[in-house]
């Protein structure tokens, strides 16, 4: 009897080992769902609303990828990850795609074996202080107690900034944004630091947002972008070009409202190539012709996504700044679709 247990275990082990990992695209198609890693909750970027549906800037990117690959923008399983778990979740295959304000750095790209597929938000680490403190520059923060939301590269930037300016500080690392707010509002720290977009998003939830200012210094470059596992270039290409399609759509004036019209009677050949009425771009990345059309229809083009989730009309109230199209003096510049 013990023998049969043994053989059973062996067989199961053998079968499991035989099911070797196929390409991510095939996995996602077979599963019918895209597993997308997002934050555990940052208003404007990724947070569940009152009905438990995820929405936000990063969420929209996930939905666009799902729409392009699976044809359904709701075929996404959102996996909340913390700063600690996101890389393991991606590396171990628990998620296919990580869209969680992750800074593109050298070591993450190389040592941790990930591929950043582009940049969807140019950010930088900033400081928020109460107006009453009378501080106008981060260099005046000598001796201050600083609350840091841990997780991204914040601690390292902060240490570098204070060291290079030869001033001291008292770090208080905080796990969640809610606890950071609590500490900061109670005066347990003089300043709160994280990515400037996150600060704006946090300030928007305060009772009196006007009592707090963001200091002018942006102490780091934080190009935030979605990432995938290194080595699966096919999947990397798909996600990279979905993101590019969203950005290019804004540049070319394709919106979710006029997309049908654009598809049927455009005389701009690049628009026609993106929307699949001309050329075989979809085929080249293993998708059908209308992949980009679906991606743009899902949540709109980059500008629409920005305006709806974090733009100046929203409580978050972020200006486009660096995140404007290159034609408007920003940094968004996609390679041509050709």
């Amino acid at each position: 009897m013990n023998k049969s247990v043994l053989f059973g275990a062996l067989t199961i082990a053998g079968l499991a080992a035989g099911a070797a990992a196929a390409g991510t695209l095939d996995d996602v198609k077979a599963r019918g769902k895209l597993n997308c890693g997002v934050t555990t909750g940052l208003a404007g970027f990724a947070a569940p609303n009152a009905n438990g549906e995820w929405e936000g800037f990063d969420v929209a990117v996930c939905r666009a990828v799902a729409a392009a690959v699976l044809g359904d923008k709701n075929a996404v399983e959102f996996v909340p990850t913390t700063g600690k778990t996101r890389f393991t979740a991606l590396a171990s295959g628990e998620i296919d795609f990580l869209a969680r304000n992750t800074t593109w750095t050298f070591s993450r790209d190389t040592d941790l074996k990930f591929d950043f597929v582009g940049i969807n938000y140019y950010d930088g680490q900033g400081f928020m202080v109460p107006k009453a403190l009378g501080v106008s520059s981060a260099k005046d923060l000598d001796g201050a107690t600083v609350c840091i939301q841990t997780g991204t590269t914040t601690e390292l930037n902060l240490a570098d900034f204070f060291r290079s300016n030869n001033i001291s500080y008292e770090p208080v690392p905080i796990e969640t944004n809610a606890e950071g707010q609590q500490q900061y509002l109670a005066g347990a720290c003089d300043t709160y630091t994280t990515d400037a977009s996150g600060l704006a998003s946090t300030r928007a939830t305060f009772e009196n947002p006007g009592d707090h200012v963001l200091l002018p210094e942006i102490i780091s470059k934080e190009p935030l972008g979605p990432l995938v596992r290194h080595g699966d270039n096919e999947w990397g290409d798909i996600t990279r070009w979905v993101l590019n399609a969203l950005i290019a759509a804004e540049e070319l004036g394709i919106t979710s409202a006029n997309i049908e019209e654009m598809a049927s009677n455009t005389n701009n050949p690049e628009v026609a190539r993106i929307l699949g009425t001309e050329g075989t771009l979809g085929e080249m990345i293993g998708l059908d012709a209308e992949w980009a059309k679906r991606a743009i229809m899902a949540e709109g083009n980059y500008g629409e996504i920005f305006a709806r989730n974090i733009g100046e009309e929203t409580p978050i109230g972020l200006a486009r700044g660096l995140n404007a199209q290159w034609t408007d003096g920003g940094l968004l510049y996609t390679p041509p679709f050709r």
Binding site: M1, N2, S4, V5, G8, I12, A16, A17, A19, A20, A21, A22, D27, T40, G41, A43, A47, P48, N51, G52, E77, V79, P80, T81, T82, K84, T85, T88, A89, S92, G93, E94, E175, T176, N177, A178, E179, Q181, Q182, L185, A204, T205, F206, E207, P315
Partner: protein, 434 residues
């Protein structure tokens, strides 16, 4: 003595009748005496009493107005503060507004809340015959069916998966009863193996039977949350860890060096590290140990780690119970010619487990409290909901006391209830006529 007494009966100043009984003096009976004895026996005692009354006053004076001034029906903190208008009072409206989120998490389909609720109520029926021996034994059928029904209710999806799981248990039992005549070990392991094989085989049939629109909508375990998650983790892990704990305890006592050392290393390792590091393992490491693409989800990984954790502690409690049995019991079993499994099943374990029950209940209470740690690894249990979505929302940022107070209360009720039950059981099981 007696003759002097009889002589003096005629003396006029000696009473011949007994004095009628009188009530005790006012300060030697009733509340006054009680107060004097229990509160003001000595001056040090009086001092303590005054200090205690002062402490009680301080606590009540600060909390009672806050509780009774509470506001129960506003949509956000700002509204609540407007209603209160500077008066002291709690914003309990966060509890009413987010009630469902606190209980079920924010992702569980809103129209399906009845499912976990039914499962929760069924749990009482299923646990009753285990907890109270006087109830009719037939109720144990409900207990046996409960895991499958609860699984189906909470996760939904096709009914065939839990049904086949149930069938494989039955198959396992049949194989066990066929083989047990030869030897218990053969029956036991054979039964388990048969059940596993049957369940594995059923995995090929179930997908073809699965309807496109199952009767109960499937809910992925990622969508579970709130207090429901604490409950599920607590109940699942305690019930799974009992048999493993018994096996480990027996393994640790085994005469076979290999079995013994494996058990010892496992138990000491698990007991030596904090649960939080095991949860880190579940969260960031365990995924690497499963076959690529197997997609074992976080809930299952956490259940595995917590079960390992509690089974090591339960094993130690049971080992204590085994060690407390007089050696004569073992020798008596041997002298009756019982083999190892018979001795254990019929003589040793029933007594050892009885001794261990209070300890096991303690572990269970501790484990239930420890399920709150999953909030650290981004699972949205009750505490995770409070620390994450609720306190981070624009509406309710800054409501701490109401939420923490609620969480504390709900845990207190359950844990205190269980510990009271354990004390009752201890009295009930005290058969040694001391």
């Amino acid at each position: 003595m007696s003759d002097t007494h009889s002589e003096s009966t005629t003396v006029s100043y000696v009473r011949t009748e007994t004095i009628p009984q009188q009530a005790a003096p006012a300060n030697a009976a009733g509340p006054a005496k009680w107060i004097k004895d229990n509160l003001f026996a000595t001056w040090a005692n009086s001092l303590l009493t005054v200090a205690a009354i002062y402490v009680i006053y301080l606590v009540l004076a600060s909390t009672l107005p806050w509780i009774f001034g509470g506001v129960w029906s506003t949509g956000s903190l700002r509204e609540c503060r407007e209603v209160l208008d500077g008066a002291t009072g709690a914003c309990f409206s966060v509890l009413t507004e987010r009630w469902n989120q606190l209980l079920f998490g924010f992702k569980y389909p809103t129209d399906q809340y009845w499912r976990p609720t039914v499962a929760f109520l069924l749990m009482f029926v299923a646990m009753a015959p285990v907890l109270f021996f006087d109830l009719p034994r037939k109720l144990l059928i409900v207990t046996g069916l409960f895991p499958f029904v609860a699984f189906w209710l909470i996760w939904g999806g096709t009914i065939w998966t839990p049904l086949f799981a149930l069938l494989s248990v039955i198959v396992g039992y049949i194989v066990y009863s066929k083989l047990v005549a030869r030897s218990f070990a053969a029956g036991f392991f054979g039964g388990i193996a048969a059940a596993l094989v049957f369940f594995w085989l059923s995995g090929f049939i179930v997908p073809s039977l699965t309807p496109d629109e199952p009767f109960l909508e499937a809910v992925p375990s990622r969508d579970l949350g709130g207090y429901m998650l604490n409950m599920m983790l607590g109940v699942t892990c305690v019930s799974l860890s009992l048999p493993i704990g018994i096996a480990l305890a027996l393994g640790r006592q085994s005469s076979m060096p290999l079995i013994k050392w494996v058990s010892v290393i496992f138990i000491e390792f698990i007991r030596g590290v904090p649960l939080i590091t095991l949860l880190f393992v579940a969260n960031v490491m365990l995924a690497y140990f499963f076959p690529p693409g197997s997609g074992v989800d976080l809930f299952l990984r956490v259940v595995i780690m917590i079960t390992m954790f509690s089974s090591a502690y339960i094993a130690e409690v049971i080992r204590g119970g085994l060690a407390a049995l007089p050696k004569g019991q073992y020798e008596a079993a041997d002298s009756l010619g019982l083999d190892y499994s018979q001795a254990m099943r019929l003589i040793i374990l029933p007594q050892a487990l009885k001794i261990s029950i209070p300890g096991i209940v303690n572990i269970a209470v501790g484990l239930f409290k420890d399920t709150t740690l999953v909030s650290v690894i981004s699972m949205f249990d009750l505490i995770g909901m409070i620390r994450g979505p609720i306190l981070a929302s624009t509406d309710w940022a800054g409501v701490y006391w109401e939420l923490f107070g609620f969480a504390a209360l709900i845990f207190f009720v359950v844990c205190y209830g269980i510990s009271q039950y354990s004390q009752w059981l201890e009295r009930r099981l005290a058969t040694d006529h001391r």
